[in-house]
Amino acid sequence: MEKRNAKAGSLESSDLLVVIEENKPGEELEIVMHSIVEKQYGDRIVQIAHEIATQKGLANVRILIQDRGALDYAIRARIETAMERFERGL
């Protein structure tokens, strides 16, 4: 059976691609982040992902982020959209 997953965003400049996958039961929240500005903003991106996952009560998932220099508002938007799609079962 295929793992449930959802994605949002794109790899265009100033955007980010977010993929949310079901993790194995019992596994904690996992965030994997790659960014073209990792050194300067990597921590912040991971922090935002944590915040939103906690807010939404999503624990058993793996969040993969490929960032192309998106600003905070876009990071939030794409992560929330991916999470909402995940919850809807898309």
Binding site: E12, S13, S14, A70, D72, Y73, A74, R78, E80, E84
Partner: protein, 286 residues
Amino acid sequence: MGTNLLFVPGNNPAMVQNAGILGADTVIFDLEDAVSGEQKDAARKLLKMALESITYEGCETSVRINAMDTPYWEMDLKIVAEAGIDGLIIPKAEHGKDIERISDILDTIPGADGVFLIPLVESALGVENVYGIASSSKRVRGVFFGAEDYTADIGAVRTKGGEEILWARGRIVNGAAAAGVEAIDTPFTDVEDIEGLKKDTLFAKALGFDGKASVSPRHCGLIREIFYPGDEEIRYAIRVIDTVKEAEKTGKGVASMDGRMIDKPIVLRALKVLRAAGIKEDFRYE
């Protein structure tokens, strides 16, 4: 709302965050044609976040929500109006009562008092019903003509010369004027053809349009230049408004200037000129 309105794809962060500096008087964040069906939710969310966190100085913000025959428009409306927007573009506008309905919904959203509406008329039925659409609500600031969908609807070929849309353009200008609102012309779709843009824009101005939309930031400057009122016009308009204000203050019945009575059409024309010049004027003709 000034003289040029620029479409910006609503699901494109690079464009959305830079929209304010591209030279447009009014930015139209597009949730409709620029966004595919599966991305409507993503675009709506992106715009909501952008509108809440970015200050768009120097231009007005508006959103083209999805048409009222789609499942998206109500969420679009609610989300962006709550996030804070100056105006809304309503595509495929065909009946005044639809615009009224949107206006009523806006009345229920706190903070959305000042949100203006611009119905986009882009079908034969819409062009038939222009006056009704234009006069349907106090929120309507102008009527916008969309030639691409319109020509498809009437079964004509869209050309740069524009003969096929001449009648519709005229009817839009007329209906808008009769309702006391502005008329906005359809965008010129060849991005590279600046000479063609100039011709088309000058023609639109000659027909009586008050402004024109564009699909490329490279068109904004020229459109604004062509529609921008001349110094004389601006000075005259300022005098008109000052005179009318003065008359109101001193309790005079009717104002007069240069031996002429200043009646409603002159005042409305003056307000239009000031708006096109980007001069803020709160005066309202009662």
